[in-house]
């Protein structure tokens, strides 16, 4: 079943193309963030602590996460957009297995994207530091934890986008829901009553796993991420199984 979904992923141009775009976007955004540090922080790159430079560069992984969202949403939404859902569920009437196989393929691709982005982004920062004549940042525990936590971002958002696209039967809908989950923490932090929701969002959980959490520690963060993905996938399994194709 997973092999079938993998074959589907690999035999259209758009999906591997999106994965490649995600890997490309991350270091480009990282470069942009690092080079623009003098503007955003009012200090030369050489005056910023190297660890902060790398931290800024790792925000490039967020760009990969947004492309991974589109990828996850496409894996689900294209079934309905092209009518492919019909042969898919004819071949596999136990539809939950299809949803889970799609989740495994999406998570694998997004994890590869996340790891590649989390390696490339700090590399870009180190090269910029070297180019500016500054000493490179030490590759230490906190940096590795930050990189590892960042790499989970594409996986989490791609899976949420996949689940939303399957529930809404639309690629666009999947992207919008995943973007909303990404952006809502900022919105709710402005509204006094809703600020208490801050620790709930996947963003807070990712910060927790990365070791820079304001609200959650790494273990609680990981638990929260698993819960988000599990609930999203469970809703998708339920809706896809219950409705007429």
């Amino acid at each position: 079943m997973i092999r079938a979904e993998w074959t589907k992923f690999a035999t259209v141009r758009s999906l591997p193309g999106l994965a490649a775009a995600a890997v490309t976007a991350a270091p480009l955004v990282a470069l942009l963030l690092v080079v623009s540090l003098p503007v955003t922080q009012g200090r030369a790159v050489t005056d910023v602590p190297p660890a902060e430079v790398l931290g800024a560069a790792l925000l490039g992984v967020d760009a990969a996460a947004i492309v991974a969202m589109v990828l996850g949403a496409s894996v689900g939404g294209s079934e309905y957009a092209t009518g492919l859902a019909q042969p898919t569920f004819l071949v596999t009437p136990r539809r939950g297995r299809v949803v889970l196989a799609k989740a495994v393929v999406t998570a694998s691709v997004a994890a590869a994207v996340g790891v590649a982005a989390a390696v490339l982004c700090p590399l870009v920062a180190q090269l910029v530091l070297l180019g500016a004549g500054a000493p490179p940042a030490p590759v230490d525990g906190p940096l590795l934890q930050l990189a590892a936590g960042s790499a989970l971002g594409p996986v989490c958002y791609a899976l949420l986008a996949l689940a939303a696209a399957l529930v809404l039967r639309s690629t666009g809908g999947g992207v919008v829901v995943a973007l909303a989950v990404l952006a809502l923490p900022t919105v709710t932090s402005w509204i006094p009553g809703l600020a208490a929701l801050a620790p709930v969002w996947p963003g807070a959980a990712l910060h927790g796993v990365s070791g820079v959490g304001e609200h959650l520690g790494p273990a609680a963060g990981l638990l929260s991420l698993v819960a988000w993905v599990a609930v999203g996938t469970a809703v998708a399994v339920w809706r896809v199984g219950a409705r007429d194709v």
Partner: protein, 288 residues
């Protein structure tokens, strides 16, 4: 074997399929006839577990489709041939199906060859004509070498050569003992390929019958002795203007009986009622 019992599907206020019961047996091509919107596709979608019936049940190969342990190996289906990813090649489309069903990939090459699209198998299906997509869809239906086939309007978009090819294929599949259930609104095509038809109108069963059962023999004159002899031979005889209409006995036997009873025949014509006439008569009868 397909068995529907009290099958009903309601979409809001619309009753698409209404208390439909029928059987489709093996070893024959069974046509599923009805006008567009009569409920043929909805019936097939329920049979294949895509849509859930509002009431009633339908089984294929003895079980509800969703409960079949290996559906592709038991039931082959072609519904809408446009339901493929346009960016994927025909070969890749069949490969993911084979992967999902646990069928060896060499079988993909066999069915590509069988339906005559092997030479364009690496082209994206988005560039295919409807007829070519029908062939790819039929290849998908045959992938698991199933004993039951359900094809929804498979003749749509096929060129005359393709129609002839599919007719032969369906007949061969039935001769191999498979259950072949083919929907169409093209009556003359069904007449040429189906041995049995199930006719529906407005979601309700109108009739099911053997194709050609309506064959009748017209005889003149209406001789009383001949009528008695024909009835004794098991024929159904009705008087029509200037003669007789005889059913249930072939024309040559009518002639032999006439000779035995020394009746000089003025007319002996076998009239095969077209399926179309039978179909129109039936759907008229089914109208409110």
């Amino acid at each position: 074997m397909i068995r529907a019992r009290g099958l009903t599907k309601r979409y809001g206020a619309v009753l698409a399929v209404d208390d439909l019961s029928f059987d489709v047996g093996p070893g024959a091509v069974t046509g599923f006839l009805g006008a567009n919107g009569a409920g043929k596709s909805t019936t097939m979608r329920m049979t294949l577990g895509l849509d859930a019936p509002t009431a009633g049940s339908v089984t294929v190969a003895g079980r509800a489709y969703r409960d079949l342990p290996s559906p592709v190996r038991e039931v082959g289906a072609l519904l809408d041939p446009r339901c493929m990813h346009p960016g994927r090649s025909a070969r890749a489309h069949l490969r993911w199906m084979a992967d999902a069903a646990g069928i060896r990939r060499s079988r993909v090459e066999e069915v590509l060859e069988l339906v005559g699209v092997a030479h364009v198998a690496d082209r994206r299906v988005g560039t295919f004509s409807l007829g070519m997509r029908q062939r790819v869809g039929i290849a998908g239906a045959l992938l698991g070498d199933p004993g039951v086939l359900l094809l929804d309007e498979p003749l749509n978009g096929l060129d005359p050569e393709g129609i002839r090819w599919l007719r032969t294929l369906l007949r061969d599949l039935a001769h191999e003992g498979r259950t072949v259930f083919v929907s169409s609104h093209l009556l003359h095509e069904m007449e040429q390929v189906a041995q049995r038809v199930v006719v529906i109108a407005r979601g309700r069963l109108v009739d099911e019958f053997e194709v050609g059962r309506a064959a009748a023999v017209r005889v003149r004159p209406a001789d009383a002795g001949l009528v008695a002899a024909l009835r004794a031979a098991g024929a159904e005889v009705t008087a029509v203007e200037g003669g007789l209409e005889v059913r249930g006995v072939p024309a040559h036997q009518v002639g032999e009986l006439a000779l035995e009873h020394r009746v000089a025949l003025h007319e002996l014509v076998e009239r095969r009622d077209g399926l179309e006439e039978a179909y129109l008569a039936l759907t008229r009868a089914g109208a409110p």
